[in-house]
Amino acid sequence: MSASLDLPEAPASAEQARAGAVRRTRTRAGVVSLSLVAAVVVLGLVALGTGSLRMTPLEVVDSIRDLGAGYPRYVVLHERLPRILAAAVFGAALGLAGAVFQSLTRNPLGSPDVIGFSTGSYTGALVVITTIGTSASAVAGGALVGGIGTALLVYALAWQGGVAGFRLIIVGIAVTALLASVNTYLLLRAKLEVAVAAATWGAGSLNLLTWGDVVPALVLIGLLLPVVAALSGPLRQLELGDDAARAHGVRVEPVRLALIVTAVGLTAAVTAVAGPIAFVALSAPQVAHRLCRSAGLPLTASALTGAFLLLLADFAAQHWMPQALPVGVVTVVVGGVYLLWLLAHEARRKAA
C-alpha cells in the first residue's frame, strides 16, 4: 500500500536529532547489556572457584578445558556448574518473566511473585509433599500444577471482557493471601520432618542441584526464549494502551494470553526445580529500566539483570552468611526492603 500522505520534507537537523536520540538509547542499552554479560561471566567464574576447593577464575577455565578427569574438573563440572548455571539461567528467566508481567500490567507490582504464582506453586508442592512424598520430580510436578493452576484462576477471576492490569494485580494479591493461609494450614498439619523439608523447598534454594534436576528446566526455558522474542514487538505496542495497539494491528487478547502463558511457563520452570525464589522477577526489570534509561522495560537487560542478581544472591547466601542459607532467604530480605521502597515511592508518585 503506498502512502498517500504528502508531508513536507523533514529538515536535516530534525533528522539528526531523531537519529541521535534513538542511537543514544540503543547504545546505552547495548553497553549496559554487554557489561551485564561480562559481570555474569566473571561472577560465575568466581563462584565456580569458591568453596572448600579454592580456584582462581583462570584455574577454573583451565580445569574445564582440561580433558582429563581430575578432581578439580569433577568439582567444577558436576558439583558447582549445575548450581551456578541454574542461578544464571533461572535468574534470567525470572527477570524476563517479571518484565513481561510488569509491562502487561503497566505496574511495577505486577510481577509473578506478587500476584500469586509463587504462592500457588508452593501450595501445589505442599499438597504433594504431605500426601505423596518428597521426591524431587513429584514436588516439581506439584509446583507446576499449583503455579499454572493459580495463574489460570487469577486470569479467569480478573477477566471482564479482557484483562486489565490493575484488576489482575488486585485479584492476584487476594488469591496470594488466600493461598498463603492454605499453605500455613498444610504445614501445621504435616509431620515435623515433612514440614521441615517442605519449608526448605518453600524458601527457594539452589542447594544440591544436579544436572538431572537442572537440565529439564534449562530445556524448557530455552524453548520459551524464542517465543518471548517473537512476541516482543507486539508487547512494545501494548505499552501504548490496548486501543493504540489494536489500531496498529495487534491482536490484543491472543497476544496478551500468549505472553502470560510464556511468562508463567518461565516462572514455572524455575519454581518447579528451585522453589519460589521471590523478588528477582519484581526487581530485575526495574533495575534494568533505570540502568538502560529505556522506553518501557527492556527485555534483554531485564533477563541479564535477573541472572546477575540471582547469581549474586546465591553467592552471598552460600559464602557471606555465618552459615549457608537457601538463596530465597537472601532475595526475600533484600527484595522486601526494595518492595517497601517501591510501595512508598509509588504512593508518593500517585500523591504528587
Binding site: 508531508l7 513536507p8 523533514a10 531523531r18 471482557g161 494502551g241 493504540a244 489500531a247 494491528g249
Partner: protein, 273 residues
C-alpha cells in the same frame, strides 16, 4: 459502496458502517446506525458529550465489534481483514493515550510504523523517513530526543498526532485532535489536516468547536443520542434549529466573515442579562 448524489455524480466510500448496533456490555450506544465516509473527504463529526462519537470511531477501526451489522472497508467486512492489513489502511488517533515510562518522542512516533513491519522486516529507511516527515509536519522535530513524559500537554498531543501520521494510512480517524492545544496550534493542526486531505487522504475528525467544524469540514456529521441528526455539506445542514435541537443551545448562525462558512453565535449573554 457507491451512491448517486443529487447532482448525479457517483460518490464512493471505502469505509462505511452498515446498520451497526454499538454497545458496551448491556449499554447500547447506537442502534442500526449507517454511516458512510465519502472518499477524499475531510469529514467532521460533532455532537454533545456522550452521544457516541468516540464509540463510532472505535467501531470503524475495529476497536469495538458491532453487536449487529458490519463495518465495510474496500468492499470487505473489516472483521475479515488481517489486523495489520487493516491497520495499513485505517489509522486512529484515540481520545486518550498512554506512553511507556521514559520513551522519547522519536521512539514513540516510530511505534506508529508497526503495521508496516514484520518479524523479518524490522526498522527500514522508509520507516525512518515516515517518522521524520510526521515529526516535521507536526512541529515536534526539535523535541525528537526529549522524553514524552516531560512535555507539555499540547506538545504531547502533537506527538500523538505525529505517531498517527507516521502510520501513513490513506484513511485516518482522529478523536478530538485539538484537545490541549492553544488556539494557534489548533489552527496549525487543522491546516495540516486540510493539507493532508487535499493531498488525497480521507480524514474523519471529532471536533468540539462548531466554527472550526464548519470551516474545515467538507462533510459534516451531526450526532445526537447515538444517531445521525444531520449530514452533508456544512452550508446545507447547519442551521440555528439544528444547533438548538442537538446541543440545546440558543444561537444565531451568521456567515463567517473570513471563510464564508456558517458561524455559530450563542445568544446567551450570561450574567449580563
Amino acid at each position: 459502496m457507491t451512491e448517486i448524489s443529487p447532482t448525479g455524480e457517483a460518490r464512493t466510500s471505502r469505509l462505511a458502517a452498515e446498520a451497526v448496533t454499538l454497545a458496551y456490555d448491556r449499554r447500547v450506544v447506537s442502534t442500526d446506525l449507517t454511516v458512510e465516509i465519502p472518499d477524499g473527504s475531510f469529514t467532521v463529526i460533532i455532537g454533545p458529550n456522550g452521544c457516541g462519537k468516540s464509540t463510532l470511531l472505535r467501531s470503524l477501526v475495529r476497536l469495538l465489534k458491532p453487536s449487529s451489522g458490519q463495518v465495510v472497508l474496500d468492499g470487505r467486512a473489516v472483521s475479515d481483514y488481517r489486523a495489520k492489513e487493516a491497520a495499513r489502511l485505517v489509522g486512529l488517533l484515540p481520545q486518550t493515550s498512554q506512553a511507556p515510562d521514559g520513551i522519547t518522542v522519536a521512539d514513540l512516533v516510530g511505534r506508529g510504523r508497526y503495521p508496516h513491519q514484520g518479524l523479518i522486516r524490522q526498522w527500514s529507511p522508509a520507516d525512518k523517513e515516515a517518522v521524520d516527515r510526521a515529526m516535521a509536519a507536526t512541529g515536534v522535530a526539535d523535541l525528537a530526543s526529549r522524553p514524552v513524559d516531560q512535555l507539555s500537554g499540547g506538545q504531547r498531543q502533537r506527538v500523538w498526532v505525529a505517531m498517527a501520521l507516521a502510520q501513513e494510512t490513506p484513511l485516518l480517524l482522529l478523536d478530538e485532535p485539538t484537545t490541549y492545544l492553544d488556539i494557534a496550534h489548533q489552527i496549525d493542526l487543522l491546516d495540516l489536516l486540510a493539507q493532508l486531505n487535499r493531498a488525497g487522504s480521507t480524514l474523519v475528525a471529532v471536533l468540539h468547536d462548531l466554527n472550526q467544524a464548519t470551516r474545515y469540514a467538507t462533510h459534516l456529521i451531526v450526532m445526537k443520542d447515538g444517531a445521525i441528526a444531520a449530514e452533508g455539506a456544512p452550508r446545507d445542514v447547519f442551521t440555528p434549529e439544528l444547533v438548538h435541537d442537538v446541543f440545546g443551545l440558543p444561537c444565531v448562525v451568521i456567515e463567517d466573515p473570513v471563510s464564508g462558512t456558517p458561524l455559530v453565535v450563542p445568544t446567551s449573554l450570561g450574567h449580563r442579562e
